[in-house]
Every structure is written in structure tokens, then in C-alpha cells.
Amino acid sequence: MPAIEILGLEKTYSVGFWRKHTKRALHPLHLTVEDGEIFGFLGPNGAGKTTTLKLLMGLVFPTAGSARILDHEWTDPVVKAQIGFLPEQPYFYDHLTAHELLEYYGQLSGVPAKQRKVRVDEVLHQVGLRDVRGVQLRKFSKGMLQRVGIGQAILHNPKLVFFDEPMSGLDPMGRREVRDLMEELKHKGKTVFFSTHILSDAEALCDRVAIVHKGELRGIGAIEDLTSSVQGKVEMVWQGSLVPASIKALGAEIHVSGDRVRAIIDENQQDAVIDILRRERQRLIAVIPVRTSLETYFVEKLRRSETTAGRTA
């Protein structure tokens, strides 16, 4: 039984004063997330990730299509008791304490009163907010609010959690903790569906990812499979100021500064460049993989597919 089955959900917003113009936020989306996996939903800002999550949460209504969550119609209230949701950049009732807030959410999720107390303490401990009892949320930093957000999403021990940009606003330490938490959830047999625009987060965690851009699904699968189709870049640094013509011919981007040459080339030409440098007796200092953010990665991928299309035409 898949945890989530998205069957052609699509969303078109009417915009403008008279609602005459339409803006397509999401093209028909088909997607299946298996039970017990960590699934990354990748795409640059404005790609339709949040729209998809809102559709699944029943916060916006689809123009067409449907979905099944945990083997129920997605709008079924039964589903809601078994899922947790962390919105993007969460913000909560200013005048409550974290403890009161979680208590309230526990009530709404139907957690029995006896378990609620225990569970709230447990979760606050889990997200590292044990020591802020009695402090109202308006005094919380962005990172602390993010932790509260994660806490409320896992409070009622849901089978499936949706995190929208869970790492945003967190320091490196916090990111690490969130990663650990997601892995822990997976260990407990939960399914995690999270969106991000940061490739490395997905790489480190996900079993599978889906990539969306401009409201359309551009790829789905294990992260290595996807990135193999589009080559990454490496930066190669050698001593001296000589740039062999054969390297230039490979289309490298070259910067010379002092007695260092830095060349940025496609990953698959790395061996060829090493061979050339060896032949030319240049001293290679470093080979550094260039980590691109998902956004630049995409721009690159799109630029390439467009130029290819241009050439064939």
C-alpha cells in the first residue's frame, strides 16, 4: 500500500480583480510515495511544491484530479488524524507558550488527555525545547519556531509527515538535528514527505526524490539516477599560468590569478583534463566538485535542453 498516491492533481488560480486571468500553479501531477520512505520534493522557489502540499492538506481545492493518502480519499477526516504537517516558515499564536500550543494541537488532533501531557513533554524534549517553558512564542527566534513547528507535526504520532522546507531558518547544528529526526522517524516506520530547494539536504536523506519546476514534474527517482543524467561541474586548480589550448577547446571556464589557474569544467571531462595536465607537466593542486544549489542546477539543465533544442531546429 503506497502512503501517498497523487492522481493528476492540478491547480489553476484565477487572478486579477475580475478573476479573468488564470495562473497555472500546478500541472496535472502523478506521483506515488511508498510506505516508510523519505521522499524529497525538490524544486526551486515557486515551482509548485507548496501548492502541492496545500492541495494534499485540503487547504486549497484542486482544479482537477484527486489523491489517496494512507489508503483513504485525501479529504477524508480520518486521514487528518494520521498525518502531521509543518508549513513553510511556521508562525504560531504569539501569546501562547510552546507547551500550551502543543497542548492545544494535541486537543485538536484528538490525543487523549492522559497521553497528551506525556507526549507534549516528550516532543518538546525531542525538538530541543525543553528549557523554554513559560516563554511566550512571540519571544522565540525563527529557528525555535521551526522546532516548535516540527514538534507540532509529530506530536500526535502520525504515520505520515509532510514537512515544507524543514531546514529553512536553522543553523548547521539545527539542520543536522532535523536530519537525525527524519531518519529516526523512518526507523520507526513512518513515511516522510518533505520539500526543499537545497539539493544536498535531499542527497543526504532521501530514498527517492521528485523534481518539479514551473508547476511540472521534471523527474522522479533515486537522486543519483537523476543527477547522472545532468552532469555536475568540477573546479580544477593547477600551478602556473599556462592554459593548454586543448583544455580551452573543452569549453572550460578559466580564471588566471597569480600563479594559479582555476578551470571549471564538466565532471565527465575531469579525466581528460588530468591527462592533458600530466602531458603538459603541470602540477595539479586540487579537484573540487562544484556543489550547485538546486536552482542553478536547474537553470543549467534547462539552458542545456534549450540549446540542444535550438541546435536541432
Binding site: 488560480y13 496545500k54 492538506m57 485540503g58 487547504l59 486549497v60 481545492f61 477526516p77 480520518v78 487528518k80 488524524a81 498525518i83 502531521g84 504537517f85 509543518l86 508549513p87 513553510e88 516558515q89 511556521p90 508562525y91 504560531f92 499564536y93 504569539d94 501569546h95 501562547l96 500550551e100 492545544y104 494541537y105 486537543q107 485538536l108 488532533s109 484528538g110 511566550q136 513547528g149 507540532q152 507535526a153 500526535h156 509532510f162
Partner: protein, 258 residues
Amino acid sequence: MKGRIAYIASNTFREAVRDRVLYNLIAFALLLSGAAILVGQISIEIEKLVVINLGLTAVSLFGVVIAIFIGIGLVSKEIEKRTLYTVLSRPVRRWEFIVGKFFGLAGTLVVNTFFMAVGVFGALFYVSHKFVRADALILVALYFIILEFLIICSLSLLFSSFSSPLLSAVFAFSLFVIGSFAEDLRNFAGMAHGISRWLATGAAYLVPNFSAFNVISSIAHEQPVASQLVVQNTLYALFYATMALSGAVLIFERRDLK
């Protein structure tokens, strides 16, 4: 269902109380005690009249301002701050949210009115040193004021369910003003002819009618209030609030929370 509505209501109440309702009580207390002491020194004849008029008018105006300014933020603020997302992704129906919010706000206003009423009676005792039977009429006026609040609450929720806070405030406040002159509006309608008369009469029945709720000045003169009026006002407030709430639910059920 009942439980969830109650939880939402009590959370709304708690938010409102911690937010700014208390400041209003302080302002009210200062105003009333200041006025009571002042009139106590100036006039002997009409001091009671002034305290009742001033006190009840202040209760009503403070309450209306609170009802509108908290009411309009109830839904739109939750959307803006995205707190609504974490509520509606739980087993909470949208209508339960609206109804819960309404009761929370209504509760806030009732409690607030209670404290202000204590203030009014206190000031009254200060100027007249005793209570008489006719003072019980003030309770009727307070009851009507609360009924009025219920209507305003439901209207601000209605506007809040589809409009921005600023526009909602403008709408709700204009309806409060129009509602205070609803009887005159119907007089205007009566003087029109043809289609405009029908339209004006329709509009006059659609806007809230607060003229029957304002008994402050007659109570200050110790005029009794017909028991029939109490029943009718109660029914009217209940029906009107139900109407506005149903409208809010209808709109909110369909709304995309962008």
C-alpha cells in the same frame, strides 16, 4: 466535534485575553472612575443619569471596537500567519473553526462586559451610595449590549472570511453605524417608489438593526423595558448571528488558503 469547537473557542479566548483586551479594561476603569468623581462634584441632580449614560455607552463602544478589531483578525490573521494551516491539517472541519472562533470571541466579550458592568455598578454606587430596584434595568441594557456584540462578532467573522483585515474593519464598522440607524434607513426606503423602494426595503432588512437594542437613554430615565422586546431582541440577535455565521461558513468552505 463539540470538543474541537470548545478547544478552538477557549484558545481564541486565551489569545484575546492575553493580547489586548486587558488594556481596554484599564482604560475603561480610568474613564469611568474619573467621570464618576467629576460629576459627583459638579451636579447633584443628574449625576446618576450621567453615570448610567456614560457607563453604558462606554461599555457598548469599547465592546464594539474590541468585537470588530479582534473579529476581523480572527480568520485573516490566521491565514496571514499560516497558523490556520496547522489547524486545518488536523481533524478540524472548516465550519468547526469558524464556529469555534465565534464562541471564543463572544466569550471574550461577555467576560469583558461583565468586568465593565462591575465598573458601572461601582461608579453608580459611588455617586448614589445605594442601589434601588430600578437599577436592575441596567442589566437589561447590558444584556442588549451583549446581544449587539454577538451580531457584530458574527459580521466581523463574515467579512474576515473573505476580505483583508483593513477592509473587513471598514465593512464591519460601517455596518455598525448603518445598523444603528436601521430604522431611519427603513424610513428612507418607505419614502422611495417602485424598484428602488423594494431594493431599499430589502437592504434595510439585510443590514443589522440595532435601534431596538439601544435602550440606554430610556433606562437612564428608569423607563421599564417590555418583556416582549427582550424576547424579540434575543431571537433577532440569534437569527442574525446564525445568518452571518452561515454566510461565513459558506464562503470559508470554498476558500483557497493561498
